[in-house]
Protein backbone atom coordinates (compact mmCIF):
# COMPACT_ATOMS: atom_id res chain seq x y z
CA UNK A 1 0.00 0.00 0.00
CA UNK A 2 1.40 3.42 -0.93
CA UNK A 3 2.07 6.06 1.66
CA UNK A 4 -0.71 8.36 0.44
CA UNK A 5 -3.16 5.51 0.71
CA UNK A 6 -2.57 5.36 4.45
CA UNK A 7 -3.98 8.86 5.06
CA UNK A 8 -7.13 7.24 6.51
CA UNK A 9 -5.11 5.20 9.02
CA UNK A 10 -3.34 8.33 10.18
CA UNK A 11 -6.64 10.16 10.63
CA UNK A 12 -7.90 7.25 12.70
CA UNK A 13 -4.74 7.18 14.83
CA UNK A 14 -4.87 10.93 15.47
CA UNK A 15 -8.56 10.78 16.35
CA UNK A 16 -8.08 7.86 18.74
CA UNK A 17 -5.06 9.58 20.29
CA UNK A 18 -7.20 12.70 20.84
CA UNK A 19 -9.86 10.52 22.49
CA UNK A 20 -12.53 11.65 20.05
CA UNK A 21 -15.40 9.45 18.86
CA UNK A 22 -15.78 8.82 15.14
CA UNK A 23 -19.35 10.12 15.15
CA UNK A 24 -18.33 13.35 16.91
CA UNK A 25 -15.57 14.10 14.43
CA UNK A 26 -17.93 13.33 11.53
CA UNK A 27 -20.53 15.77 12.88
CA UNK A 28 -17.87 18.44 13.43
CA UNK A 29 -16.71 18.33 9.82
CA UNK A 30 -20.17 17.81 8.38
CA UNK A 31 -20.00 14.31 6.91
CA UNK A 32 -21.72 11.06 7.88
CA UNK A 33 -20.06 8.74 10.37
CA UNK A 34 -20.15 5.88 7.88
CA UNK A 35 -18.34 7.98 5.26
CA UNK A 36 -15.68 8.90 7.82
CA UNK A 37 -15.42 5.22 8.65
CA UNK A 38 -14.71 4.40 4.99
CA UNK A 39 -12.08 7.16 4.90
CA UNK A 40 -10.43 5.89 8.06
CA UNK A 41 -10.16 2.41 6.60
CA UNK A 42 -8.53 3.80 3.49
CA UNK A 43 -11.51 2.85 1.36
CA UNK A 44 -12.08 6.38 0.06
CA UNK A 45 -9.43 8.73 -1.26
CA UNK A 46 -9.39 12.03 0.51
CA UNK A 47 -7.98 15.43 -0.34
CA UNK A 48 -8.81 19.11 -0.77
CA UNK A 49 -11.13 20.91 1.58
CA UNK A 50 -12.25 17.80 3.47
CA UNK A 51 -8.66 16.99 4.39
CA UNK A 52 -8.09 20.57 5.54
CA UNK A 53 -11.25 20.42 7.67
CA UNK A 54 -10.23 17.13 9.29
CA UNK A 55 -6.71 18.33 10.02
CA UNK A 56 -8.10 21.56 11.52
CA UNK A 57 -10.52 19.57 13.67
CA UNK A 58 -7.72 17.27 14.85
CA UNK A 59 -5.34 20.19 15.35
CA UNK A 60 -2.57 18.80 13.12
CA UNK A 61 -0.83 19.91 9.92
CA UNK A 62 -2.46 18.44 6.78
CA UNK A 63 0.93 17.01 5.74
CA UNK A 64 1.11 15.04 8.98
CA UNK A 65 -1.91 13.15 7.69
CA UNK A 66 -0.85 12.75 4.06
CA UNK A 67 2.86 12.13 4.47
CA UNK A 68 3.09 10.77 7.95
CA UNK A 69 6.53 10.58 9.45
CA UNK A 70 9.75 11.36 7.59
CA UNK A 71 10.65 8.91 4.88
CA UNK A 72 14.21 8.78 6.12
CA UNK A 73 13.02 7.76 9.58
CA UNK A 74 10.85 5.01 8.12
CA UNK A 75 13.64 3.65 5.97
CA UNK A 76 15.99 3.53 8.96
CA UNK A 77 13.32 1.66 10.94
CA UNK A 78 12.89 -0.81 8.08
CA UNK A 79 16.63 -1.28 7.97
CA UNK A 80 16.59 -2.05 11.71
CA UNK A 81 13.76 -4.55 11.22
CA UNK A 82 15.55 -6.10 8.27
CA UNK A 83 18.76 -6.59 10.22
CA UNK A 84 16.98 -7.94 13.28
CA UNK A 85 15.17 -10.44 11.02
CA UNK A 86 11.68 -9.20 11.92
CA UNK A 87 9.03 -11.18 10.02
CA UNK A 88 5.28 -11.27 9.83
CA UNK A 89 2.67 -8.54 9.41
CA UNK A 90 4.55 -6.03 11.57
CA UNK A 91 7.28 -5.61 8.95
CA UNK A 92 5.03 -3.35 6.90
CA UNK A 93 3.93 -1.26 9.87
CA UNK A 94 7.03 0.90 10.42
CA UNK A 95 5.01 3.87 9.25
CA UNK A 96 2.34 3.25 11.86
CA UNK A 97 4.96 2.81 14.58
CA UNK A 98 6.66 6.08 13.69
CA UNK A 99 3.30 7.85 13.55
CA UNK A 100 2.12 6.60 16.92
CA UNK A 101 5.34 6.69 18.89
CA UNK A 102 7.53 9.34 17.23
CA UNK A 103 9.84 9.55 20.27
CA UNK A 104 10.47 5.81 20.49
CA UNK A 105 10.88 5.63 16.71
CA UNK A 106 13.58 8.31 16.90
CA UNK A 107 15.33 6.37 19.64
CA UNK A 108 15.27 3.20 17.56
CA UNK A 109 16.41 4.99 14.40
CA UNK A 110 19.32 6.77 16.07
CA UNK A 111 20.36 3.51 17.73
CA UNK A 112 20.27 1.87 14.32
CA UNK A 113 22.45 4.60 12.80
CA UNK A 114 24.90 4.32 15.67
CA UNK A 115 25.09 0.57 15.14
CA UNK A 116 25.95 1.13 11.48
CA UNK A 117 28.80 3.46 12.49
CA UNK A 118 30.09 1.03 15.09
CA UNK A 119 29.92 -1.96 12.76
CA UNK A 120 32.02 -0.03 10.28
CA UNK A 121 34.54 0.85 12.97
CA UNK A 122 34.75 -2.77 14.08
CA UNK A 123 35.24 -4.00 10.53
CA UNK A 124 38.10 -1.57 10.13
CA UNK A 125 39.67 -2.65 13.41
CA UNK A 126 39.32 -6.41 12.96
CA UNK A 127 41.05 -6.53 9.65
CA UNK A 128 43.49 -3.82 10.55
CA UNK A 129 46.45 -5.27 8.69
CA UNK A 130 44.43 -5.11 5.49
CA UNK A 131 42.89 -1.67 6.12
CA UNK A 132 45.81 0.12 7.65
CA UNK A 133 48.74 0.31 5.25
CA UNK A 134 50.93 2.02 7.85
CA UNK A 135 50.46 -0.82 10.31
CA UNK A 136 51.05 -3.44 7.60
CA UNK A 137 54.29 -1.74 6.54
CA UNK A 138 55.46 -1.49 10.17
CA UNK A 139 54.81 -5.18 10.76
CA UNK A 140 56.64 -6.09 7.59
CA UNK A 141 59.63 -4.06 8.72
CA UNK A 142 59.63 -5.71 12.15
CA UNK A 143 59.42 -9.25 10.79
CA UNK A 144 62.10 -8.64 8.19
CA UNK A 145 64.53 -7.22 10.72
CA UNK A 146 63.74 -9.98 13.19
CA UNK A 147 64.43 -12.54 10.45
CA UNK A 148 67.83 -11.05 9.71
CA UNK A 149 68.79 -10.96 13.40
CA UNK A 150 67.54 -14.47 14.11
CA UNK A 151 69.39 -15.95 11.20
CA UNK A 152 72.64 -14.12 11.87
CA UNK A 153 72.56 -14.68 15.65
CA UNK A 154 72.05 -18.40 15.30
CA UNK A 155 74.95 -18.62 12.86
CA UNK A 156 77.13 -16.95 15.51
CA UNK A 157 75.82 -19.23 18.24
CA UNK A 158 75.88 -22.51 16.33
CA UNK A 159 79.04 -22.29 14.24
CA UNK A 160 81.94 -23.54 16.35
CA UNK A 161 84.75 -22.56 14.06
CA UNK A 162 83.78 -19.31 12.41
CA UNK A 163 86.42 -17.43 10.45
CA UNK A 164 87.16 -14.04 12.10
CA UNK A 165 86.17 -12.09 8.95
CA UNK A 166 82.76 -13.73 8.88
CA UNK A 167 82.33 -13.33 12.65
CA UNK A 168 83.10 -9.59 12.50
CA UNK A 169 80.85 -9.18 9.49
CA UNK A 170 77.93 -10.85 11.31
CA UNK A 171 78.50 -8.86 14.49
CA UNK A 172 78.24 -5.64 12.51
CA UNK A 173 75.08 -6.88 10.79
CA UNK A 174 73.44 -7.80 14.10
CA UNK A 175 74.35 -4.46 15.58
CA UNK A 176 72.78 -2.62 12.61
CA UNK A 177 69.69 -4.76 12.56
CA UNK A 178 69.09 -4.63 16.30
CA UNK A 179 69.14 -0.84 16.18
CA UNK A 180 66.75 -0.90 13.26
CA UNK A 181 64.49 -3.30 15.17
CA UNK A 182 64.47 -1.06 18.23
CA UNK A 183 63.57 1.98 16.14
CA UNK A 184 60.79 0.30 14.24
CA UNK A 185 59.37 -1.27 17.40
CA UNK A 186 59.28 2.13 19.09
CA UNK A 187 57.68 3.74 16.07
CA UNK A 188 55.04 1.03 16.04
CA UNK A 189 54.25 1.48 19.74
CA UNK A 190 53.98 5.25 19.27
CA UNK A 191 51.60 4.70 16.37
CA UNK A 192 49.42 2.26 18.30
CA UNK A 193 49.36 4.38 21.44
CA UNK A 194 48.48 7.59 19.67
CA UNK A 195 45.73 6.01 17.68
CA UNK A 196 42.83 5.69 20.17
CA UNK A 197 43.12 9.36 21.17
CA UNK A 198 43.40 10.79 17.73
CA UNK A 199 40.74 8.70 16.06
CA UNK A 200 37.43 8.85 17.86
CA UNK A 201 35.63 5.64 16.97
CA UNK A 202 32.28 7.22 16.23
CA UNK A 203 33.16 9.59 13.44
CA UNK A 204 35.25 9.56 10.32
CA UNK A 205 37.90 12.15 9.46
CA UNK A 206 35.66 13.34 6.61
CA UNK A 207 32.88 14.06 9.10
CA UNK A 208 35.24 16.03 11.31
CA UNK A 209 36.28 18.08 8.30
CA UNK A 210 32.69 18.76 7.33
CA UNK A 211 31.90 19.86 10.90
CA UNK A 212 34.94 22.17 10.80
CA UNK A 213 33.92 23.71 7.46
CA UNK A 214 30.32 24.00 8.66
CA UNK A 215 31.50 25.89 11.76
CA UNK A 216 33.19 28.37 9.43
CA UNK A 217 30.16 28.36 7.12
CA UNK A 218 32.50 27.27 4.31
CA UNK A 219 34.07 30.70 4.24
CA UNK A 220 37.45 31.81 5.50
CA UNK A 221 37.74 35.59 5.61
CA UNK A 222 41.38 35.30 6.62
CA UNK A 223 42.28 33.42 3.44
CA UNK A 224 40.11 35.71 1.31
CA UNK A 225 42.06 38.73 2.49
CA UNK A 226 45.57 37.50 3.16
CA UNK A 227 45.73 35.25 0.13
CA UNK A 228 47.77 32.07 0.19
CA UNK A 229 49.44 31.91 3.61
CA UNK A 230 50.80 28.58 4.83
CA UNK A 231 51.07 29.64 8.45
CA UNK A 232 47.50 30.95 8.50
CA UNK A 233 46.31 27.60 7.13
CA UNK A 234 48.33 25.66 9.67
CA UNK A 235 46.95 27.91 12.44
CA UNK A 236 43.36 27.28 11.33
CA UNK A 237 43.88 23.52 11.18
CA UNK A 238 45.61 23.35 14.57
CA UNK A 239 43.14 25.61 16.37
CA UNK A 240 39.98 23.86 15.17
CA UNK A 241 38.30 21.88 17.97
CA UNK A 242 36.36 19.90 15.34
CA UNK A 243 39.55 18.44 13.85
CA UNK A 244 40.34 15.71 16.39
CA UNK A 245 42.37 13.28 14.33
CA UNK A 246 45.59 13.76 12.42
CA UNK A 247 43.81 12.44 9.34
CA UNK A 248 41.13 15.13 9.61
CA UNK A 249 43.74 17.87 9.99
CA UNK A 250 45.52 16.53 6.92
CA UNK A 251 42.34 16.61 4.84
CA UNK A 252 41.39 20.06 6.17
CA UNK A 253 44.81 21.43 5.23
CA UNK A 254 44.36 20.21 1.65
CA UNK A 255 40.92 21.81 1.51
CA UNK A 256 42.20 25.10 2.89
CA UNK A 257 45.09 25.21 0.42
CA UNK A 258 42.54 24.76 -2.37
CA UNK A 259 40.39 27.55 -0.87
CA UNK A 260 43.43 29.83 -0.70
CA UNK A 261 44.42 29.13 -4.32
CA UNK A 262 40.84 29.72 -5.44
CA UNK A 263 40.55 32.92 -3.39
CA UNK A 264 43.77 34.26 -4.89
CA UNK A 265 42.60 33.60 -8.43
CA UNK A 266 38.96 34.57 -8.01
CA UNK A 267 38.18 36.77 -5.00
CA UNK A 268 34.64 36.43 -3.69
CA UNK A 269 34.03 40.18 -4.26
CA UNK A 270 34.76 39.83 -7.96
CA UNK A 271 32.55 36.76 -8.22
CA UNK A 272 29.69 38.43 -6.31
CA UNK A 273 29.77 41.38 -8.69
CA UNK A 274 29.70 38.99 -11.65
CA UNK A 275 26.77 37.05 -10.13
CA UNK A 276 24.89 40.36 -9.79
CA UNK A 277 25.45 41.05 -13.47
CA UNK A 278 25.05 37.59 -15.04
CA UNK A 279 23.08 35.57 -12.51
CA UNK A 280 24.23 32.32 -10.89
CA UNK A 281 25.23 30.60 -14.14
CA UNK A 282 28.65 28.98 -13.63
CA UNK A 283 29.39 28.83 -17.37
CA UNK A 284 28.73 32.54 -17.97
CA UNK A 285 30.68 33.40 -14.83
CA UNK A 286 33.61 31.26 -15.87
CA UNK A 287 33.70 32.89 -19.29
CA UNK A 288 33.39 36.37 -17.86
CA UNK A 289 35.99 35.89 -15.10
CA UNK A 290 38.28 33.80 -17.35
CA UNK A 291 38.49 31.06 -14.75
CA UNK A 292 38.15 27.28 -14.96
CA UNK A 293 34.57 26.11 -14.35
CA UNK A 294 35.67 23.87 -11.45
CA UNK A 295 37.03 26.87 -9.58
CA UNK A 296 33.86 28.87 -10.21
CA UNK A 297 31.79 25.98 -8.84
CA UNK A 298 33.91 25.78 -5.67
CA UNK A 299 33.77 29.53 -5.18
CA UNK A 300 30.00 29.66 -5.69
CA UNK A 301 29.65 27.12 -2.87
CA UNK A 302 31.33 29.67 -0.58
CA UNK A 303 28.60 32.26 -1.25
CA UNK A 304 25.97 31.64 1.48
CA UNK A 305 23.31 33.59 -0.42
CA UNK A 306 23.28 30.94 -3.19
CA UNK A 307 22.43 28.18 -0.66
CA UNK A 308 24.35 25.74 -2.83
CA UNK A 309 25.81 22.35 -1.99
CA UNK A 310 29.09 21.03 -3.35
CA UNK A 311 30.54 17.60 -3.87
CA UNK A 312 34.03 16.64 -4.97
CA UNK A 313 35.08 13.12 -5.83
CA UNK A 314 38.39 11.63 -6.90
CA UNK A 315 39.04 9.29 -9.84
CA UNK A 316 37.81 6.28 -7.86
CA UNK A 317 34.44 7.98 -7.37
CA UNK A 318 35.05 8.42 -3.65
CA UNK A 319 33.43 11.58 -2.34
CA UNK A 320 36.28 13.52 -0.77
CA UNK A 321 34.49 16.78 -0.05
CA UNK A 322 30.89 17.56 0.70
CA UNK A 323 28.88 20.59 1.53
CA UNK A 324 25.42 19.30 2.27
CA UNK A 325 22.21 20.93 1.13
CA UNK A 326 18.72 20.15 2.39
CA UNK A 327 16.82 17.78 0.14
CA UNK A 328 19.89 16.28 -1.51
CA UNK A 329 21.12 13.39 0.59
CA UNK A 330 24.67 12.08 0.22
CA UNK A 331 25.13 8.71 1.93
CA UNK A 332 27.61 8.71 4.81
CA UNK A 333 28.70 5.14 4.23
CA UNK A 334 28.39 3.11 1.11
CA UNK A 335 28.18 4.19 -2.46
CA UNK A 336 26.29 7.10 -3.99
CA UNK A 337 23.83 7.04 -6.87
CA UNK A 338 25.86 6.53 -10.06
CA UNK A 339 23.44 8.68 -12.07
CA UNK A 340 24.73 11.92 -10.58
CA UNK A 341 26.49 14.17 -13.10
CA UNK A 342 29.39 14.21 -10.60
CA UNK A 343 30.25 10.72 -11.83
CA UNK A 344 29.19 11.01 -15.47
CA UNK A 345 31.85 13.68 -16.12
CA UNK A 346 34.66 11.67 -14.48
CA UNK A 347 36.05 10.18 -17.67
CA UNK A 348 35.82 13.43 -19.61
CA UNK A 349 38.06 16.15 -18.18
CA UNK A 350 36.91 19.57 -19.35
CA UNK A 351 33.32 18.56 -20.08
CA UNK A 352 30.73 20.59 -18.18
CA UNK A 353 27.35 18.96 -17.56
CA UNK A 354 24.29 20.81 -16.35
CA UNK A 355 21.22 18.89 -15.37
CA UNK A 356 17.97 19.37 -13.48
CA UNK A 357 17.86 16.71 -10.80
CA UNK A 358 15.26 15.46 -8.42
CA UNK A 359 16.33 13.11 -5.70
CA UNK A 360 13.48 10.67 -5.25
CA UNK A 361 12.08 9.70 -1.92
CA UNK A 362 12.60 12.89 0.06
CA UNK A 363 10.93 16.27 -0.07
CA UNK A 364 10.72 16.27 -3.89
CA UNK A 365 13.10 19.22 -4.13
CA UNK A 366 14.66 19.94 -7.49
CA UNK A 367 18.20 21.09 -8.06
CA UNK A 368 20.26 22.41 -10.92
CA UNK A 369 23.47 20.44 -10.80
CA UNK A 370 26.53 21.59 -12.69
CA UNK A 371 29.45 19.20 -12.80
CA UNK A 372 32.85 19.18 -14.39
CA UNK A 373 35.98 17.15 -14.08
CA UNK A 374 39.42 18.64 -14.01
CA UNK A 375 42.97 17.35 -14.12
CA UNK A 376 44.52 17.35 -10.67
CA UNK A 377 48.03 15.99 -11.14
CA UNK A 378 51.03 17.66 -12.70
CA UNK A 379 51.37 16.57 -16.35
CA UNK A 380 53.88 13.94 -17.46
CA UNK A 381 54.49 12.18 -20.78
CA UNK A 382 52.34 9.10 -21.40
CA UNK A 383 50.72 9.40 -18.00
CA UNK A 384 47.01 9.08 -17.33
CA UNK A 385 46.23 12.27 -15.41
CA UNK A 386 44.55 12.10 -12.02
CA UNK A 387 41.21 13.84 -12.25
CA UNK A 388 38.76 15.23 -9.75
CA UNK A 389 35.19 15.96 -10.37
CA UNK A 390 33.25 18.83 -8.83
CA UNK A 391 29.47 19.24 -8.70
CA UNK A 392 27.61 22.32 -7.56
CA UNK A 393 24.06 21.68 -6.32
CA UNK A 394 21.91 24.80 -6.76
CA UNK A 395 18.26 25.00 -5.68
CA UNK A 396 16.31 24.87 -8.97
CA UNK A 397 15.57 28.16 -10.72
CA UNK A 398 12.52 28.26 -13.01
CA UNK A 399 11.23 25.39 -15.13
CA UNK A 400 13.50 22.96 -16.95
CA UNK A 401 12.81 21.07 -20.18
CA UNK A 402 14.13 17.80 -18.81
CA UNK A 403 14.50 16.36 -15.37
CA UNK A 404 16.63 13.45 -14.24
CA UNK A 405 15.34 11.31 -11.39
CA UNK A 406 18.19 10.17 -9.21
CA UNK A 407 18.57 8.60 -5.78
CA UNK A 408 20.86 8.93 -2.81
CA UNK A 409 21.96 5.34 -2.54
CA UNK A 410 20.26 2.24 -3.99
CA UNK A 411 19.21 0.83 -0.64
CA UNK A 412 16.79 3.65 0.08
CA UNK A 413 15.92 4.69 -3.48
CA UNK A 414 12.40 4.02 -4.77
CA UNK A 415 13.16 4.42 -8.50
CA UNK A 416 11.63 1.56 -10.52
CA UNK A 417 13.49 -0.19 -13.34
CA UNK A 418 16.64 1.82 -12.78
CA UNK A 419 19.41 0.70 -15.16
CA UNK A 420 22.00 1.70 -12.58
CA UNK A 421 20.55 -0.22 -9.66
CA UNK A 422 23.16 -2.16 -7.67
CA UNK A 423 20.99 -3.70 -4.99
CA UNK A 424 17.28 -3.93 -4.25
CA UNK A 425 15.71 -1.08 -2.38
CA UNK A 426 14.27 -1.66 1.05
CA UNK A 427 11.54 0.80 0.08
CA UNK A 428 10.08 -1.40 -2.64
CA UNK A 429 6.63 -2.60 -1.87
CA UNK A 430 5.82 0.85 -0.56
CA UNK A 431 6.70 2.42 2.72
Amino acid sequence: MSREALTGSRIRERRVMAGQKQADLATEIGISASYLNLIEHNRRRIGGKLLLNISAALGVEPTALTEGAEVALISTLREAADEAGLTGPEVTRADEFAGRFPGWADVLASTQRRIATLVRTIETLTDRLAHDPHLAASMHELLTTAAAIRSTASILADTKTLEPEWRDRFHINIDQDSRRLADSAQALVRYLEADPDTTPAASSPQEEVEAFLEAHRFRFAMLEEAGHDDSAIEGLAQAAPELQSAAARHIARDVLHQVARDADALPIKQLSAAVQEFGPDPMLLAQHCRQPVGRVLRRMAAMPELRAGLLVCDRSGTVIFRKSVDGFAVPRFGACCPLWPLFSVLGHPGLVVRERLEQLGRGHSEFDCIATSEVQSAPGYNMQPLVQSVMLILPAQGPAAQKLDVGSTCRICPRDHCPARREPSILNGGV
Partner: protein, 127 residues
Amino acid sequence: MAKHVVLVEDETNIAEAIRFLLGREGWRVETLANGSTAVDVIRNANPDLVILDVMLPGKSGFEILRDLRADPVFVDLPILMLTARGQARDREMAETAGVSRFMTKPFSNGEMLDAVRALTATTPTTP
Protein backbone atom coordinates in the same frame (compact mmCIF):
# COMPACT_ATOMS: atom_id res chain seq x y z
CA MET B 1 80.29 -29.64 -9.38
CA ALA B 2 78.61 -27.58 -6.65
CA LYS B 3 74.88 -27.12 -6.75
CA HIS B 4 73.82 -23.66 -7.80
CA VAL B 5 71.16 -21.48 -6.09
CA VAL B 6 69.87 -18.08 -7.15
CA LEU B 7 68.76 -16.05 -4.12
CA VAL B 8 66.52 -13.05 -4.82
CA GLU B 9 66.37 -11.02 -1.60
CA ASP B 10 66.69 -7.27 -1.15
CA GLU B 11 67.50 -7.39 2.56
CA THR B 12 71.28 -7.59 2.37
CA ASN B 13 71.81 -8.97 5.87
CA ILE B 14 69.33 -11.80 5.35
CA ALA B 15 70.95 -12.51 1.98
CA GLU B 16 74.35 -12.59 3.65
CA ALA B 17 73.25 -15.04 6.34
CA ILE B 18 71.66 -17.37 3.78
CA ARG B 19 74.70 -17.11 1.53
CA PHE B 20 76.91 -18.18 4.45
CA LEU B 21 74.64 -21.05 5.50
CA LEU B 22 74.23 -22.49 2.03
CA GLY B 23 77.89 -21.87 1.19
CA ARG B 24 78.87 -24.11 4.08
CA GLU B 25 76.58 -26.79 2.72
CA GLY B 26 78.55 -26.68 -0.50
CA TRP B 27 76.18 -24.49 -2.53
CA ARG B 28 77.29 -21.87 -5.03
CA VAL B 29 75.09 -18.87 -4.12
CA GLU B 30 74.26 -16.11 -6.57
CA THR B 31 72.41 -13.19 -4.93
CA LEU B 32 70.20 -10.59 -6.52
CA ALA B 33 68.62 -7.60 -4.75
CA ASN B 34 66.27 -6.54 -7.50
CA GLY B 35 63.20 -8.27 -8.92
CA SER B 36 63.19 -6.78 -12.40
CA THR B 37 66.13 -8.73 -13.84
CA ALA B 38 65.53 -11.91 -11.80
CA VAL B 39 63.80 -13.93 -14.52
CA ASP B 40 66.59 -13.27 -17.05
CA VAL B 41 69.32 -14.05 -14.53
CA ILE B 42 67.63 -17.32 -13.57
CA ARG B 43 67.10 -18.24 -17.21
CA ASN B 44 70.82 -17.77 -17.93
CA ALA B 45 71.99 -19.46 -14.75
CA ASN B 46 69.65 -22.45 -14.98
CA PRO B 47 70.13 -23.11 -11.23
CA ASP B 48 69.19 -26.14 -9.12
CA LEU B 49 67.17 -24.02 -6.72
CA VAL B 50 65.65 -20.54 -6.48
CA ILE B 51 64.97 -18.74 -3.19
CA LEU B 52 62.58 -15.82 -3.65
CA ASP B 53 61.50 -13.01 -1.35
CA VAL B 54 57.94 -11.74 -1.95
CA MET B 55 58.37 -7.99 -1.52
CA LEU B 56 61.08 -6.95 -3.94
CA PRO B 57 61.88 -3.71 -5.70
CA GLY B 58 61.13 -3.80 -9.42
CA LYS B 59 59.05 -6.95 -9.61
CA SER B 60 57.29 -8.95 -6.89
CA GLY B 61 58.21 -12.52 -6.02
CA PHE B 62 54.77 -13.65 -7.17
CA GLU B 63 55.31 -12.22 -10.65
CA ILE B 64 58.73 -13.82 -10.93
CA LEU B 65 57.24 -17.13 -9.80
CA ARG B 66 54.48 -16.94 -12.41
CA ASP B 67 56.90 -16.03 -15.20
CA LEU B 68 59.18 -18.93 -14.33
CA ARG B 69 56.36 -21.48 -14.13
CA ALA B 70 55.02 -20.30 -17.50
CA ASP B 71 58.29 -21.51 -19.07
CA PRO B 72 58.28 -25.29 -19.68
CA VAL B 73 62.01 -25.45 -18.80
CA PHE B 74 61.28 -24.34 -15.23
CA VAL B 75 58.10 -26.28 -14.52
CA ASP B 76 59.92 -28.56 -12.07
CA LEU B 77 62.53 -26.12 -10.76
CA PRO B 78 62.40 -26.12 -6.93
CA ILE B 79 61.39 -22.65 -5.75
CA LEU B 80 61.39 -21.70 -2.07
CA MET B 81 59.54 -18.53 -1.19
CA LEU B 82 60.19 -16.32 1.85
CA THR B 83 57.76 -13.74 3.11
CA ALA B 84 57.38 -11.50 6.11
CA ARG B 85 53.63 -11.45 5.72
CA GLY B 86 52.51 -14.89 6.79
CA GLN B 87 48.93 -14.24 5.76
CA ALA B 88 46.87 -17.09 4.41
CA ARG B 89 46.20 -15.10 1.27
CA ASP B 90 49.91 -14.86 0.42
CA ARG B 91 50.39 -18.56 0.94
CA GLU B 92 47.38 -19.35 -1.25
CA MET B 93 48.62 -17.05 -3.99
CA ALA B 94 52.05 -18.67 -3.90
CA GLU B 95 50.60 -22.16 -4.00
CA THR B 96 48.34 -21.33 -6.94
CA ALA B 97 51.31 -19.88 -8.76
CA GLY B 98 53.21 -23.14 -8.27
CA VAL B 99 55.62 -22.55 -5.40
CA SER B 100 57.50 -25.64 -4.17
CA ARG B 101 57.74 -24.47 -0.56
CA PHE B 102 56.58 -21.39 1.32
CA MET B 103 58.29 -20.08 4.44
CA THR B 104 57.49 -17.13 6.72
CA LYS B 105 60.02 -14.79 8.26
CA PRO B 106 61.52 -14.96 10.83
CA PHE B 107 62.44 -18.57 10.01
CA SER B 108 65.04 -20.63 11.84
CA ASN B 109 68.23 -21.53 9.97
CA GLY B 110 67.59 -25.21 10.62
CA GLU B 111 64.11 -25.04 9.07
CA MET B 112 65.45 -23.26 6.04
CA LEU B 113 68.27 -25.74 5.52
CA ASP B 114 65.87 -28.68 5.97
CA ALA B 115 63.59 -27.18 3.35
CA VAL B 116 66.47 -26.71 0.93
CA ARG B 117 67.65 -30.29 1.46
CA ALA B 118 64.16 -31.70 1.03
CA LEU B 119 63.55 -29.69 -2.12
CA THR B 120 66.75 -30.71 -3.82
CA ALA B 121 67.02 -34.33 -2.62
CA THR B 122 64.90 -35.59 -5.49
CA THR B 123 66.41 -33.43 -8.21
CA PRO B 124 69.13 -35.07 -10.21
CA THR B 125 72.43 -33.24 -9.76
CA THR B 126 73.63 -31.28 -12.71
CA PRO B 127 76.56 -33.11 -14.23
